[in-house]
């Protein structure tokens, strides 16, 4: 089992802060009317992306969801390209064509977010298949929500990966709601990890507000996948602090009543506490992280604002390899 080192712990901590601050800034400029489109904030769930991606290198692959900023940052994507993408600028990761829902960078193993719930799960299985056929040691990780576990693609993708013992890890971020629909309404089980039994693979529940716990569980699953032991289904119990998307107050379906309890378990101070207990983090280092992230974010917003939008000719580019 992967022991949590100081280096990894600090990486997770900083990564979680990067996610949190990036999203807070994105929300701010969105609310100021600077961004088109929609945003689904990941705030509150940072421990999952950080705990899982702490085990991944640039050559490992991930697929993500509509709530994907956190996965992308944890996978190593930079603020400039991400912020520019939200601003729909040509310097964005998708040259302004994808937006919040579709940030991706193939060079960093970020195979992108599917805006279609569950759509990334079979794609991750396929990436794992490609890795296996090439004889690589990488893994493919798919992130998705509780709601996604009811759609056909979830079932088909995991069954395929299990039948073929592919180096894949499936991470369900169970934040208790599919949009406005509570888990108890959309399925009749309590623990989504139980669905692993349908595929003969390990299913593990983890506290998604506890980065160290996620780190441990993910390390085991990813290690097993790399070692040829096949896929694992991880269920991380977590909570989004915001509504489904910016503009949803969460009041229609009880989310607002649950939120205070979960906010007390904010994963960032929780990990910070652990780090300080282990003397891995000083107040000064903490401040430095915050300052560094803030500086980077200021620069990213500046970069995005100054970047040009796509040119009209870009409309017809990138549909096919060569223009037809």
């Amino acid at each position: 089992m992967a022991k949590l080192t100081r280096e990894r712990a600090l990486w997770m901590y900083e990564t979680m802060i990067r996610i949190r601050r990036f999203e807070e800034r994105a929300i701010e400029v969105f609310q100021a009317g600077e961004l088109p489109g929609f945003i689904h904030p990941y705030i509150g769930e940072e421990a999952v992306a950080a705990g899982v991606c702490a085990h991944l290198s640039g050559k490992d692959q991930i697929t993500s969801t509509h709530r994907g900023h956190g996965h992308m940052i944890a996978k190593g994507l930079g603020f400039n390209g991400m912020m520019a993408e939200l601003y729909a600028r040509s310097t964005g990761y998708c040259k302004g064509k994808g937006g919040s829902l579709h940030i991706a960078d193939q060079d960093l193993g970020a195979l992108g977010a599917s805006g279609i719930v569950g759509g990334g799960i079979p794609i991750a299985a396929g990436a794992a298949l490609g890795i296996k056929l090439k004889g690589g040691k990488e893994v493919a990780v798919s992130f998705f929500g509780d709601g996604a576990t009811n759609i056909g693609a979830f079932h088909e993708g995991i069954n395929l990966a299990a039948a073929w013992r592919l180096p894949a890890v499936f991470v369900c971020e169970n934040n208790r709601y599919a949009q406005s629909t509570p888990q108890s309404v959309h399925q009749s089980i309590r623990d989504i990890a139980d669905r692993a039994k349908a595929y003969g693979i390990p299913g593990v529940i983890v506290d998604g507000m506890d980065a160290a716990a996620v780190y441990e569980v993910a390390g085991e699953a990813i290690g097993r996948a790399r070692g040829g032991g096949g896929p694992t289904l991880i269920e991380a119990k977590t909570f989004r602090f915001w509504g489904h998307y910016l503009g949803d107050p969460g009041t229609a379906y009880g989310h607002d009543r649950e939120a205070p309890k979960w906010k007390k378990r904010d994963p960032i101070p929780a990990l910070g506490g652990l780090l300080r207990k282990r003397k891995w983090l000083t107040a000064k280092a903490d401040e430095e992280i915050l300052a560094r992230v803030k500086g980077e974010l200021d620069a990213a917003v500046e970069f995005a604002r100054k970047s040009p939008p796509p040119e009209p000719a870009d409309l017809m580019a990138d549909i096919y390899e060569k223009a037809l």
Binding site: P36, G37, F38, A88, C94, G96, K97, G98, G99, L101, H102, S114, G115, I116, V117, G118, G147, A148, N150, I151, G152, A153, A178, Q179, S180, T181, V185, H186, Q187, A252, Y253, P309, P310, P312, D314, L315, M316, I319
Partner: protein, 327 residues
């Protein structure tokens, strides 16, 4: 006449039909307390309760399959799929089951169901939440396809769709939901298969669907100032298609422009163009013009999306081309 929003007109239609017929019910994602992603079921849960306003799991194939199964035993379900892009995960049920069971089973099957979805772009929702895929459904015998362009039509057509004994694909354009328009107070329906001439004119016929009807009316207004008189015809249902009304207009003006938001290639406009080429050939005085979305996935960038989606300026330019006025 009072003015209400397109989505309010839809809620009224559902409410009235649910009161009229206890077999009518609604199922879909987040249609309950949340009132639907675009508030087109708002308030119905309070009035009709959770048995008849059913929040589903995210499972569009099951939503449509369940609607069909319920219809087969005598219900009249209205299934909501939200974005038309999500219909891609339910195509087997829609195309292989819903559309075909009546025929395949020799005529006995009861298939009174409506499948609502919203299409179209314009809000930077990007490639997977902005498509216009109605042509697919028109290509499938067994389905009817409705695309209202005004609150009044939306209400009257949805009521007819619910009462219809055939499966109806009901496509709403997202940009229309908050558009207000006059809607009569009392009970009324609009038959499926009846086009409406939204504006009369003599120089050119614009056949426009859904969001393009409004843009075409604006273009016609503009062109009138230039002395070009456009007739704007809204088919309202793409199948059954009121060829008579449309072709009468084409025969009158001798010029045809087709406007829709779907991409051109194999869009519904191709069928309309083919019909004109077959049935009004001798009346056409100029090559027809299609004003459609560019052949690209829908981009996120508002600047690009505006170029992707046909605008009223594109309609106007198309008409000028059609009548031979290059500007």
């Amino acid at each position: 006449m009072r003015e209400i929003m397109f989505r309010e007109a839809l809620v009224e239609a559902l409410d009235e039909e649910m009161r009229r017929d206890e077999n009518v019910f609604v199922l879909g994602e987040d249609i309950g307390q949340f009132g639907g992603s675009f508030k087109a079921t708002l308030g119905l849960l309070e009035k009709h309760g959770p048995e008849r306003i059913r929040n589903t799991p995210i499972a569009e194939e099951a939503i449509v399959g369940a609607a069909l199964g319920a219809a087969l035993v005598g219900m009249r379900p209205v299934a909501e799929l939200h974005f038309i892009d999500f219909a891609t995960v339910a195509m087997n049920q829609i195309v292989n089951q819903v559309a075909k069971v009546r025929y395949m089973f020799g005529g006995k099957a009861r298939t009174s169901l409506v499948i609502r979805m919203h299409g179209g772009g314009g809000s930077s929702a990007a490639a997977q939440h902005s498509q216009s895929l109605e042509a697919w459904f028109v290509h499938v015998p067994g389905l009817k396809v409705v695309m209202p362009s005004t609150p009044k039509d939306a209400k009257g057509l949805l009521k007819s769709a619910i009462r219809d004994n055939d499966p109806v694909i009901f496509v709403e354009h997202r940009a229309l939901y908050t558009v207000k328009g006059p809607v009569p107070e009392g009970e009324y329906t609009i038959p499926l298969g009846a086009a409406e001439v939204k504006r009369e004119g003599s120089d050119a016929t614009i056949v426009a669907t859904s969001s393009m009807v409004g843009k075409s009316l604006q273009a016609a207004e503009e062109l009138a100032k230039e002395g070009i008189s456009c007739e704007v015809v809204d088919p309202r249902t793409l199948f059954p298609l009121d060829k008579e009304t449309i072709l009468a207009s084409v025969r009158k003006t001798g010029r045809l422009l087709i406007a829709h938001e779907a991409v051109r290639r194999c869009g519904w406009g191709a069928e309309m163009a083919a019909i004109a080429g077959e049935e009004a050939f001798d009346y056409l005085d100029a090559p027809l013009v299609r004003v459609c979305a560019k052949e690209t996935p829908v981009p996120y960038s508002p600047r690009l999306e505006r170029l992707h989606i046909p605008q009223k300026e594109d309609v106007a330019a198309g008409v000028r081309r059609l009548v031979g006025v290059a500007r």
